[in-house]
Amino acid sequence: MSGRIETLLAEAIRMAVPYMACGLGAVLTERAGVVNIGLEGALGVSGLCAAVGAISTGSGVVGLGAGVLGGGAYCLLHGVLVVRARVDAMVSGIALTMAAYGGGRVALRLLYDSASNSPRVPGLEGLDSRSALLRVVSEPALLGFAAGAVVLVTVLLRTRLGLRLRACGDDEGAAAAAGVEVGRTRLWASALSGAACGLGGVHMVFDQHQFDAGMTGGRGFLALAAAILGRHRPGATLAACAGFAGLEAAQITFQDQLRLAPELIRVMPFVATLGLLAWAGRGMALARGRLWR
């Protein structure tokens, strides 16, 4: 039984990475004042880039770099469309998500002559341990995400750059008056947000050793809900992501004992988010600056 609990924990951690990466991405872009509902697409694009990079060079490190760059470039494109071309952020987010999904399938077909999945991706291997937990935790892609997350959260909360970023989201007029270049700040915030999602895409692909069209399974959208639940604070958002993943892992592990409808469990994150919005929504809309530290 202890093996089962350990596996539950390991699976929760493994499944939390894409959520957390996108949750962090959502925090970065939203706090800078750029709404991006296309993070699901960033997850897919970075996964595809990681797969292509790793397969074509045989190197996991190149794959990791390609994934992070791909995710960053995708979100930077969104930033350019929204900030410079003044495209509506919803329109751009939806369009880019759809383009990412369709583009992924087209790329798979062109590159690997398959409509659904890439060949085996040589990822970065962790320890070959008997312990499921140790295997999951020692994966370089997971460690890379953890390191990236620490850096990004520190930058956001503890540096001058992060302060400027938050100022752009809190009150762009005041930020501009104080001499912050709002547009440029938002662009690099978008790129950073995409790079954060990219770490999740890389982990997903390296963990599965394969890129599948649609493997993101809506996790990028769920991460947006987590960011709302966490009120766009990094710690709370990451905790919400961990909660979602834990719920998913628990549902999977105890499926045969638990006679609870799986639909009920899958819908819980959304119910929680909606509940929070209904309860605190008005305050959140009015006092963005006050709610965010």
Binding site: G3, R4, E6, T7, L8, A10, E11, R14, M15, P18, L81, A85, R86, V87, D88, V91, S92, A95, M98, A99, G102, G103, R105, V106, L108, R109, D113, S114, A115, S116, N117, A132, R135, M204, D207, Q208, H209, Q210, D212, A213, G214, M215, G217, G218, R219, E248, A249, I252, T253, Q255, D256, P262, E263, R266
Partner: protein, 338 residues
């Protein structure tokens, strides 16, 4: 909202969508014969290395032997699926094939709307009283799952085996039922761990969940896992590979997905059945209604010969082959409900 900057973006999206719609491609052989066949793929489309590809293989084979002409359509959504069938119907195609249970409802309506065309639906799950120009093709998956269930039980050392389903629907429950019966036949005291990835079609392409389910079954002691979950299964193989567990493929010989991990596969001969229907239609022997293909008709089978079955013990192969004979003769009835 100022629309001007949005316009090029919308145009881009529209262009992308148009390319995705993949208009029915012309792949007709130069010789034009009277019989024209239109094939509409399921989600996944060509290159899924699964039953879309199998259906295509059957179509090509029939085209070669019968000299028929064919066209393909790869829809991306429900509306396109019906639209593609209607397109073929309005152009007077003789036989229109829908690949996948997902066509079951639409194809009945389209068949009624185009009474002069004939229709065939693979994995048909609709009403058995079909229109006179529609044949529903069903597989008795439970029989194939029964065979691999017996194989899994014979190969298991821990006496624990696992079943990973995709979307929790009647079709996939049939796999579970057959698998359970197969395990029980060989090893009545073995423990069976069964779980499904979800309740929406997404559950067929969520390898992350597949890996998590497999990992939890392996942690409970299962050492042979059977999946019936489409792309989700690649996560099952991945979990098995990391823990030196063995897995059983589905629908087609999946050995190449994970050599050394895939012990055997339960095979659905979509290619054979598609070819048969086309040949019958071109000979004017089309029969409507629902037809079922099991072990006896060669519609389902398991991989037990050649290098892809090298991981099986000879005693397992012998025992399961005896069971296969009994299923084929009708002496052994495999339940279709778990």
């Amino acid at each position: 909202m100022n629309l001007r900057p949005v316009a090029p973006l919308l145009a881009l999206v529209a262009a992308l969508l148009l390319t995705l719609l993949a208009p029915a491609r012309r792949e007709a052989p130069p010789v034009r014969s009277r019989v024209r066949v239109g094939l509409v793929f399921d989600v996944g489309g060509r290159g899924d290395k699964s039953f879309n590809d199998a259906a295509y293989a059957g179509l090509v084979e029939a085209a070669r032997s019968e000299g028929i002409a064919f066209e393909l359509a790869e829809p991306t959504g429900a509306e396109d699926r019906e639209g593609a069938m209607r397109l073929f119907g309005s152009r007077g195609f003789d036989l229109i094939l829908g690949i996948g249970y997902i066509f079951s409802r639409d194809i009945v309506e389209v068949a009624r709307a185009f009474p002069r065309s004939r229709f065939a639906c693979v994995d048909f799950a609709g009403d058995p009283a079909t229109p006179p120009n529609l044949v529903g093709l069903r597989f008795r998956e439970e029989e194939g799952a029964f065979l691999v269930g017996a194989a899994a039980a014979s190969e298991s050392r821990t006496r624990h085996v696992g079943f990973v389903g995709g979307m929790n629907i009647e079709l996939i429950q049939r796999f579970e039922a057959g698998f359970r019966a197969g395990v029980r036949e060989v090893c009545p005291t073995c423990t069976i761990h069964a779980a499904y990835a979800g309740t929406t079609p997404e559950a067929f392409r969520d390898p992350l969940r597949g890996k998590a389910i497999a990992a939890s079954q392996i942690a409970s002691g299962a050492d042979v896992l059977f999946h019936a979950s489409g792309l989700t299964g690649s996560g099952v193989f991945e979990a098995a590979r990391a823990t030196s567990t063995r897995a059983i493929g589905v629908d087609r010989d999946q050995f190449d997905e994970a050599p050394g991990v895939v012990l055997t596969s339960m095979v659905k001969r979509v290619d054979t059945v598609v070819r048969e229907i086309i040949v019958e239609t071109s000979k004017g022997q089309f029969r409507p209604g629902v037809r079922s293909f099991g072990v006896r008709e060669g519609g389902v089978d398991w991989v037990h010969e050649g290098p892809h079955a090298a991981g099986l013990q000879p005693s397992t192969v012998a025992a399961v082959e005896v069971l296969r004979g009994r299923v084929a003769s009708g002496e052994l009835r495999v339940p279709s409900r778990p």
